[in-house]
């Protein structure tokens, strides 16, 4: 974001200069050597296991993995299971709301905190701390707060607003939103931290130049600062999508997937089928569908981000 912007960077994504000293051969191989442990991990622990899960989804595995192929039977059963559709729809609603709200709150809080606020340290810690608490117990607290008879509804009514209603937790049509509320509470602080780190990396000279040109504060933010945070948006998005897809403890602790199965999520479905209901084949099939959905939605975004090859600034 500085004078470097104008510099010619084509030679930066560099391979070492081509002269034939020995040190340079090593230098040529060093980056690849450094990445190789990670490469092995990725191939075995990510893609090897995905292949294994894919194979299992075509078997009649029940309590433990078995290798008797049964064709598409598990997928047929999966798509005849109404609970699965409920959980997929919930995942869509939940992840969109969760990601959008977290990004919005996280960015706003970071900008507000960046206004030379007193007690910034304390506020920052307050916004960040929910990440520290595991949902094994915070789920219970949220359950109490959201329960219409002991929590917020009761409290507000006690203040005199007798007709106040906040009973999402016990309403099958709204229960999924309570998971959004609790999840945003937990993760938005971290997004704030990411954006704050990003804001602090923005070069002051450009902002000063814009101020001299008479740009308003709003313009500086929308035209200069926020666009420069693009890599931060990307990190935050990947992180939030990761949390959303894996949301599991939270939903189990808060609603247990209920009332009924109204707030069920694919991760819960998969875990139950694989480990407590002895339908591992079905569980593997649901994992594959989840992965494919993720591929379909995320890969275009990842691709477009990664195509930006050069150093951007």
């Amino acid at each position: 974001m500085s004078e470097s912007k104008t510099a010619d960077l084509t030679s930066v994504a560099m391979t070492p200069r081509r002269n034939s000293r020995m040190g340079d051969t090593l230098a040529y191989w060093m980056p690849k050597l450094v990445l190789s442990p990670t490469l092995i991990i990725v191939l075995v622990f990510f893609y090897g296991f995905i292949l294994w899960t894919g194979y299992l989804s075509f078997t009649n595995s029940r309590m433990l993995p078995s290798y008797d192929l049964v064709g598409w039977a598990n997928y047929v059963r999966l798509f005849n299971n109404e609970r699965w559709f409920v959980s997929l729809r919930n995942l869509a609603v939940y992840s969109v709301l969760f990601i959008v709200i977290c990004l919005a709150i996280g960015l706003s809080l970071a900008i507000l905190l960046d206004q030379k606020i007193r007690a910034e340290g304390a506020l920052r810690t307050i916004y960040l701390y929910p990440m520290a608490l595991s949902f094994i117990v915070t789920g219970t607290v949220w359950k109490w707060m959201l329960n219409p008879q002991v929590g917020i509804e009761q409290f507000v009514r006690g203040l005199g607003w007798e007709t106040f209603r906040f009973d999402w937790l016990v309403d099958p049509n709204f229960s999924i939103y309570t998971i959004v509320v609790a999840a945003v509470w937990q993760s938005s602080g971290f997004v704030m931290a990411l954006f704050l780190a990003g804001l602090r990396g923005v070069d002051d000279s450009i902002i000063k130049a814009a101020q001299i040109d008479g740009a308003s504060r709003f313009m500086i933010y929308t035209r200069i600062i926020i666009p420069s945070l693009r890599p931060v948006f990307f990190s935050a998005f990947v992180m939030l999508a990761h949390i959303a897809i894996k949301s599991f403890d939270l939903a189990l602790a808060l609603t247990g997937g209920g009332p009924g199965v109204s707030s069920d999520l694919p991760a819960i479905f998969m875990y139950q089928m694989s480990f407590t209901r002895n339908q591992m084949g079905l569980g593997a099939a649901s994992a594959m569908i989840m992965l494919l959905t993720v591929v379909a939605i995320l890969v275009p975004y990842l691709y477009s981000e990664l195509r930006t090859k050069k150093h951007e600034h």
Binding site: W52, M63, P65, Q149, V170, P172, T255, G258, F275, R277
Partner: protein
């Protein structure tokens, strides 16, 4: 990656032998807190007194869900624990895969078949071999009542479903929440199975939840069971969904609610609140299930071991689990009743004694003793899960009883 086979060959090399040498038992269980932890500590000290070591592997959560994940992970890494808390038909599934070791030597020496009800020893055996040892018996079809609440509303304690709804109406009119309920799938299923038992009797119960007879599953009785189950909704407070069972119990303890349908573990909450059975709170069979007993048995299955010392430790533990001393202390701590029909019950409270009387009479006559569906005793976990999904969806939606019955039958078929 055929790890199951390679792991089995390792496990199979174990030899069964009785030696007095000190071995180790690693026990995977989910009795982690409160009275349960105290109860299992008793077994630990008894095993240690016999010279063996106890490696405690406790993993709590959701009625053993996490424990089952851990057990599978340990099994595929080739290193199953020597003993694990496994229930009902799941015991047979593990035995079928060749993981479990036989306890027949101990069983014969101790005469297990003489004092265990046949129904119970059938669950513990696979191919004629004892592979697990029962620890306790919970009765599920209980109704816990606050007598003060009933008195306030001026109603008698219900003994049939009709009386239940009549009493519930009056309680509601008197401003008391008639039924304390926690809207979680297993609690919904617990209430539903009691209603089905009350309406259809043990024979219907077994046909539907053990044999999964399509005629029984789609019968008018099942439709009626769903209709009656729906009625429960009229007598709950709006905050019921997701509530834990013990919060529901504390509603009865405080007198905010009049009754709760829950297994005998609820007793622990009443005791913790210093309430006396018979005066401060009442334990009654679920209306219309007087001479019936829905059982939920905890058991420890034994996994094949490599070293003879560890096998000896396993056998010692199995023997101790069924000893009258352990049965008494464990069950007094946990609220359940001993699994031995010849147990002296004089030290137990009135509820446990009543429970034991029904347990004895039903297992003697062979009628009325039924395995709990809601607690994984009657069917495979796949089918149980399918029934959970249908009952809890029905209870929390406006689905008709006919539709629920149809879905129940098809979900069970799909899961089998």
């Amino acid at each position: 990656m055929n790890f199951r086979k390679s792991m089995l060959t390792v496990a199979l090399t174990s030899s069964v032998a009785f030696t007095a040498q000190a071995g180790e038992v690693e026990v995977l269980h989910w009795w982690t807190s409160g009275g349960e932890a105290a109860a299992v500590s008793v077994l630990k000290s008894m095993v240690e007194k016999e010279g063996h070591t106890w490696k405690d592997f406790a993993v709590a959560g959701g009625g053993g869900e996490n424990t089952m994940t851990v057990l599978r992970a340990r099994a595929v890494s080739g290193n199953p624990p020597s003993s694990a808390q496994i229930k009902g038909l799941e015991i047979h599934e593990w035995a079928d895969l060749g993981f479990l070791s036989s306890l027949n030597d101990v069983a014969e020496a101790e005469g297990w078949k003489d004092f265990l009800p046949e129904m119970v020893s059938n669950i513990m055996q696979f191919d004629g071999e004892f592979v697990a040892v029962p620890v306790n018996v919970h009765r599920v079809n209980w109704m816990w009542a606050n007598p003060a609440a009933f008195e306030k509303a001026g109603v008698e304690l219900p003994t049939s479903l009709d009386e239940l709804w009549a009493a519930a109406d009056k309680l509601k009119a008197a401003g008391i929440i008639p039924i304390a309920h926690g809207g979680q799938a297993w609690q919904d299923a617990t209430t539903f199975e009691s209603i089905a038992l009350s309406l259809g009797g043990p024979e219907f119960f077994v046909k539907a939840f053990v044999e999964h007879d399509p005629a029984a599953l789609q019968s008018d009785t099942m439709i009626e069971a769903f209709e009656q189950f729906r009625k429960v909704r009229d007598y709950l407070d709006p905050g019921f969904p997701g509530r834990e069972w013990n919060i529901a119990t504390s509603m009865v303890i405080r007198g905010d609610a009049a009754m709760q349908f829950m297994g005998d573990w609820a007793k622990g909450e009443f005791s913790a609140a210093n309430m006396q059975p018979g005066t401060d709170y009442l334990c009654l069979p679920f209306p219309g299930t007087d001479d019936m007993f829905t059982f939920n048995i905890d058991s420890l299955a034994m996994f094949k071991q490599r070293s003879a010392e560890n096998v000896a430790a396993q056998n010692t533990m199995a023997r101790l689990v069924l000893s009258p001393e352990f049965q008494e202390t464990f069950n007094m701590n946990k609220g359940s009743i001993p699994v031995r029909l010849d147990q002296d019950m004089s030290g137990f409270d009135a509820c446990a004694q009543a429970s034991m009387d029904t347990f004895k009479s039903t297992s003697a006559s062979g009628e009325g003793l039924v395995p709990s569906m809601a607690h994984g005793m009657s069917t495979t976990s796949a089918v149980q899960g399918a029934i959970y999904d249908v009952t809890t969806t029905f209870f929390n939606s406006s689905m008709t009883a006919q539709e629920a019955t149809r879905q129940l039958a098809s979900a069970i078929r799909a899961a089998q």
